[in-house]
């Protein structure tokens, strides 16, 4: 029974693909299961993983957000510039708080517009994302900051531990911001699984009208998911700075697509109402393994965009197919019941 239930779960298949893929890469290169590669891989999961957990909530609620990479970009530049201008020397945590507040505000704009206008959220967030991009480039006049303020610079070199592979003699360090990823995943997971708010998000994504009748405040839930996504986006923006030691305008280019792909691959239904944080995280791992090893898998980098497209389409095809077959099952059950009743009447 337990195994049967496991076989039905999307996460199981994603995990299976990840294991097979990593074994293939190990077989080709012999360098996948080395300490430094695993640390590097985990490091590269931090930023997309955080963003995906924010977007996951938005997608479960039946909406979509393409503005979060631009929120992250704006927060990254705004906070770094502010620190530069004021010559701030205190603890770096203030920067993260500031980024979270700005991000939450930008996300709230999306959420309020979505709840108020009741128009497709893709168009709304497409509009706001051009505003955020224009603001960053035009008003903040930013494209690159190579020398970071002191507090951030100190965090760049804050590592939890370092490893060195014996075979290749390559070293890698685990950055302290992995803790952000873990905390974000835990909080989002807790909200979605154990709170009324989480139930509400699933309910709104499944059927907004039914959720409203059941007593959920649909508008408030919409505002919440976008605000949370923006807040996580803001924190992610600053995390990226401390990871790479600089600010660059093109850090998050194309992120909206890869993160959506990761969430969808992780089993969240793009129409809303289902999915899990764990699945989303596995989706991110899968995306990263593929994109990190494209060349190793024999795919030139020029074709990487094609790969994300194919992955998105494959992911949604599977979930669309599942939805259709589930519907068919319900209909056939109803038909069977009706036939049974008719037989009983006769």
């Amino acid at each position: 029974m337990k195994i049967q239930r496991l076989l039905k779960r999307n996460e199981f298949y994603v995990a299976l693909i990840i294991i097979i893929l990593s074994l293939i890469i190990q077989a080709i290169s012999g360098q996948f299961f080395t300490a430094n590669n695993l640390v590097d891989l985990t490091r590269s999961l931090i930023v997309p993983g955080m963003m995906a957990s924010g977007l996951f909530m938005v997608i479960v609620s039946g909406n979509i957000d393409v503005s979060f990479p631009y929120t992250a970009m704006l927060c990254m530049f705004a906070v770094t510039k502010l620190f530069q201008v004021t010559g701030y020397q205190g603890p770096v945590i203030l920067g993260f708080l500031l980024a979270a507040v700005i991000g939450a505000f930008l996300g709230m704009i999306n959420g309020v517009l979505a709840a108020w206008l009741k128009l497709p959220t893709l168009i709304i967030t497409l509009g706001t994302c051009t505003i955020y991009l224009g603001f960053t480039q035009g008003v903040l006049k930013s494209s690159v900051i190579s020398v970071l303020p002191e507090p951030m610079k100190n965090m760049v070199s804050a590592n939890l531990f370092s490893v060195r592979s014996a075979a290749t003699n390559l070293g890698s360090s685990m950055h302290v911001s992995i803790l952000f990823l873990i905390v974000t995943l835990l909080i989002v997971g807790f909200i979605m699984k154990y709170t009324m708010l989480g139930r509400g998000i699933y309910a709104v994504g499944g059927d907004p009208v039914a959720a409203e009748r059941a007593g959920f405040n649909v508008a408030a839930i919409r505002v919440f998911v976008f605000t949370a996504c923006g807040m996580i986006g803001g924190i992610t923006g600053l995390t990226q700075v401390t990871l790479s030691g600089m600010c660059q305008i093109n850090f998050f280019d194309g992120y909206e697509m890869t993160i959506i792909a990761a969430v969808v691959l992780g089993g969240a239904n793009i129409a809303g109402g289902s999915g899990s944080v764990f699945g989303t995280f596995l989706g991110v791992v899968l995306m990263k393994i593929i994109s990190n090893n494209l060349i190793l898998l024999g795919i030139p980098t020029e074709w990487s965009k094609l790969m994300t497209g194919i992955l998105i389409i494959l992911g949604v095809c599977v979930s669309a197919y599942k939805a259709v077959s589930a519907e068919r099952k319900v209909t056939s059950n109803i038909l069977k019941d009706a036939a049974g009743e008719e037989a009983a009447h006769e």
């Binding site: 979509i64 517009l113 108020w116 206008l117 009741k118 128009l119 497709p120 893709l122 168009i123 709304i124 497409l126 509009g127 706001t128 994302c129 051009t130 505003i131 955020y132 991009l133 224009g134 603001f135 480039q137 035009g138 008003v139 697509m257 959506i260 792909a261 969808v264 793009i270 129409a271 030139p300 020029e302 074709w303 990487s304 965009k305 094609l306 790969m307 994300t308 497209g309 194919i310 998105i312 389409i313 949604v316 095809c317 669309a320 197919y321 939805a323 259709v324």
Partner: protein, 332 residues
């Protein structure tokens, strides 16, 4: 005269757009000290707006059907690139003018075939597999653009035979740009399809209520697929216009057109939830947007970055105004 005013009363949206158009024109003329309202500037607007306009017509069709077509930019790029590559290979050297024009027509048809193949692909994903239009076109646009990037390896297709550039820059009687004529032809065809054919009526039906149209005997799958095919064809035409304008083809030419093309539709009164929208509104909206775009470039101190900011703000503002005015109307 009476019939005109009756017509205008019937369509308050057109009146509003005409008003915005005049205000934009007047505002830009005053702001530039009269240098905007010149024959040359107007001709430039007329020359440039079709690139965006033809693409937006496809976006409009998808929106009326209750979806959205984010592939328009990618299709324009891919069709442009493939057509230009074909143009380079099949154009004979020192060909006479009739032969050159013939080759150009072949290229145009080839581009439209590429567009319709892309349309079949996205249309099938949406109608037969049942993926929401937004995600299907988002993924498909990555695939199509990915092909374009992969084929060109990120570089541009240069040294095209001069006929394409000459043709796109051609002005009928020395006044009317050929691009405007192409836009008029496309807009006319789309208007005819929407207003005079059963197919057009079915698109509106699907956009208003998918279930109802299905149970009234409309083949939703077929109509939707066809909608995205037409959208693809229109996008490919605009891609070829773009290549003619820049005299080369690249995989990132169309990139900046996505938000404006959605903005044009929303400004034109097309309902993003489906079921509403007219070609006449589109014509006004696209001219307004091109005027703004050309007008901004007259000011040295407004960089392209602010253009993004302004497009986004206008898009959000127009959506708010549309929704508020519609709700007020509904309350009455």
């Amino acid at each position: 005269m009476n019939s005109i005013s009756r017509y205008l009363n019937k369509d308050s949206n057109i009146m509003r757009l005409l008003f915005i158009l005049l205000v934009t024109l007047a505002g830009l003329t005053i702001a530039t000290g009269g240098s905007f309202l010149t024959f040359g500037q107007m001709q430039l607007v007329a020359y440039l707006f079709p690139e965006m306009g033809v693409m937006s017509l496809g976006m409009m069709l998808a929106m009326i059907s209750g979806g959205i077509d984010l592939t328009v930019v990618a299709v324009a790029d891919l069709a442009g690139i493939l057509s230009c590559m074909l143009l380079k290979t099949i154009m004979p050297e020192n060909a006479s003018l009739p032969v050159q024009i013939l080759v150009l027509l072949v290229i145009l048809i080839f581009g439209m075939v590429v567009g319709s193949v892309c349309g079949v692909f996205t249309g099938t994903l949406i109608s037969r597999i049942g993926i929401p239009a937004m995600v299907a076109t988002l993924g498909a646009s990555d695939i199509i653009l990915g092909l374009a990037v992969g084929i060109t390896q990120g570089s541009s297709v240069n040294e095209l035979p001069s006929i394409l550039n000459t043709a796109v820059n051609y002005r009928l009687f020395g006044v009317i740009p050929l691009t405007t004529i192409v836009f008029a032809a496309c807009a006319g065809t789309v208007a005819f399809l929407l207003n005079k054919t059963a197919f057009g009526f079915k698109i509106y039906m699907i956009g208003s209520n998918k279930e109802a149209s299905k149970y009234s005997g409309v083949d939703n799958k077929k109509v939707l697929t066809f909608t995205y095919i037409i959208s693809g064809i229109l996008a490919s035409v605009s891609g070829i216009l773009m290549c003619g304008h820049f005299n080369s083809a690249r995989s990132d030419f169309g990139k900046s057109y996505l938000t404006p093309s959605i903005l044009i539709c929303v400004l034109a009164g097309v309902n993003p939830n489906g079921g509403k929208g007219k070609v006449s509104g589109m014509v006004f909206a696209v001219i307004i947007l091109q005027m703004l775009s050309s007008g901004f470039s007259l000011f040295q101190n407004i960089s392209d970055y602010y253009k993004n900011l302004i497009w986004g703000l206008v898009l959000i503002a127009v959506m708010i105004i549309n929704v508020v005015s519609e709700r007020r109307k509904a309350r009455k």
